[in-house]
Symmetry: C2
DNA sequence: CGCGCATCTGACAACGTTGTCCAGGCTCTA
DNA sequence: TAGAGCCTGGACAACGTTGTCAGATGCGCG
């Protein structure tokens, strides 16, 4: 007759420390399994004396509830996933921190991963998170087709996209006003007398990059300035490439007198290039950064509020979870032009 | 007679979309449950024809394996937890990114949370992660007593502490050479002729802060310079407080001629204060930061390699997991003095 | 034609928890 | 003191998956 009352001790050591379970606690406390569950979950209907006995057993055995089993039973994991582009990017730090704070306020944990701007990796990550049955997903898209998430969303995974819109599906999206911000930044340069203005941005397949480029073009058009092809660099944003692009724009017979940088990584490199030159070149960058005010001259930027992006997205996520489904919305947060000197330099013609 | 063959459809909607299970897939494909499991896990022993039928059913139903159940069965979650101080701190970005990369290479996901320098919150987070049965834990300690993790470690949760040592338990620790770095930085100032050198650091209950303070004292002592109490500020590092501390050191009859900052946040504020002054004051900061070279003068720093800290810690973690238990070790990574100008200013006496 | 063997498949239990439901003991009142 | 009702505690099934094991099927060979 096989003994089924206790798990076989002959199991190979695939499970590490053989943690105590509620059953063990119950045995030690001399109570039923469900009573332990009640104590652990603070449910009513346990006499103080029984509770004390159970607590002692828990203490003695070092018991900790297995949330995997709990999740399996309850159907909610109290955790949300965050797929972003790069945890190490200073722009995403405050964003994920904000998401985390909101999650914490709702008693949820945050699982996150970096897509490294690779659509496949984004998908792999997002689906892995779904397999863990996260309650919701905040995604900073790397790809432009998110139909792979349709079954998940239908199955009840709350989903919000941030920073860039979802591709080919209808979902909540929280964005900065990339178009307006870039337009304002470039208009600012134009207002200070510039006409030959360079734009260095990321690949236009990235939505934010495309929008900012559109803002640049709009500002130029509004001012009646035809844009020359050599004034624009739209490609990878590794330092070497950006450096080369900046140097090309700044040389030749009719160099640009001002540069607008499409994101924080570009900004850093362009500032390096400009610092090596003697002729002053006006500069405005998208994204604020620490110590921008202490450089000489201070760096004028179009700032977006990364924390607000994260917070807004996470709040929408939990609204989906708490209040049932709401119609997908597109929220656009304003940007702010911060003048510090570099954007107010006159053209050195 | 109750029908137990299928879960009751009368369940209240506590479970959202009622996702399909392997059972559903099996029913649709007209095969057994275990066969579906075999297909999903790529186990051998399934005819191509059967496999195709199963795949089609999976596709049609939008099935995705429930990892919670899998974890419950297998005992390993393929996820590790990271408890850090603040996701938004630029120092921890690269660190967590490095941990994530290593985790990814081992097929594991990363769950992380910020303790906000609060020991209780650290404990709460770490234990929540253990309840999720993470396979391992990377902790940047906020508190100085980690005995609460003893049962978990005994139960097989691999654990590595980074940036600061564990308190009151024996565990793997990966640190920067805070003492040596600070000593070198201060010695550098002394070598450039300074004797009245200020130190602004965090609360000494934080290990790194205490070690850096020790390095400062050691350098001063080595040079035979008695340290005055007014030269040291050891407290919270909010901007107001740091600003006040810096301004006090720089005024009075015998002001300091150089300042050593204990971490990146202090550095930022001190640089602000120094930028407002006309008299040049030499400066060295602990922790490198972006654009430090572009300030006037460039900022000399003692740099630690955050990514290396994270990578080393995560690698040790997985070594624990793969190779069974190894004796706990304390690894100390060297720091690097990067001279850029601010630390080489002569004393303005 | 029958037997053995290899291959493929499925029934069943178990993982650790929670929800349901019932039993037993107690108190309170008539 | 008996009956009703309440309070506490426990037995049992279920969550969705995987490991074990045995049954079914088909094939080759004697």
């Amino acid at each position: 007759m096989p003994d089924t009352t206790r798990r076989a001790d002959s199991l190979p050591g695939n499970r590490y420390g053989n943690r105590p379970t509620m059953k063990d606690v119950a045995a030690r406390a001399g109570v039923g399994l469900k009573t332990v569950s009640r104590v652990v979950n603070g449910e009513p209907g346990v006499t103080p004396d029984t509770e004390r006995r159970v607590q002692e057993a828990i203490e003695a055995l070092g018991f900790r509830r297995n949330d995997s089993a709990r999740v399996l039973r309850k159907g909610r994991t109290a955790s949300i996933g965050l797929v972003l582009e790069d945890l190490a990017d200073p722009f995403y730090g405050p964003l994920s921190r904000a998401v985390e704070e909101v999650a914490r306020a709702h008693g949820a944990l945050l699982i996150n991963g970096s897509s490294a701007e690779d659509p496949e990796r984004e998908q792999e990550l997002a689906l892995a998170l779904c397999a863990r049955r996260v309650d919701g997903l905040v995604v900073i898209p790397a790809g432009d087709d998110h139909r792979y998430l349709e079954p998940e969303i239908r199955a009840g995974v709350a989903t919000v996209f941030v920073d860039r819109p979802a591709g080919r599906i209808d979902a909540d999206v929280v964005l900065s006003d990339n178009y307006g911000g870039a337009r304002d930044g470039v208009a600012h340069l134009i207002a200070h007398g510039h006409r030959r203005i360079g734009f260095i941005g990321d690949m236009p397949r990235i939505h934010t990059a495309a929008e900012r480029l559109r803002g640049y073009r709009a500002a130029m058009e509004d001012a009646g300035i035809p844009v020359e092809d050599e004034w624009m660099s739209l490609g990878a944003t590794n330092p070497e490439r950006v450096r080369r692009a900046a140097e090309e724009m700044l040389s030749g017979p009719a160099p640009v007198t001002a540069i607008f940088a499409g994101n924080n990584r570009v900004t850093v490199t362009v500032i390096r290039v400009l610092a090596e030159r003697t002729r002053p070149v006006a500069f405005v960058g998208f994204d604020d950064f620490e110590l921008a005010d202490l450089l000489q001259p201070g760096v004028t930027v179009v700032a977006q509020d990364a924390a607000a992006l994260g917070r807004t997205a996470a709040e929408r996520l939990f609204r989906q979870l708490d209040g049932g489904l709401v119609a997908p919305e597109r929220v656009e947060l304003p940007t702010r032009l911060i003048t510090r000197g570099s954007g107010e330099l006159p053209p050195a013609d």
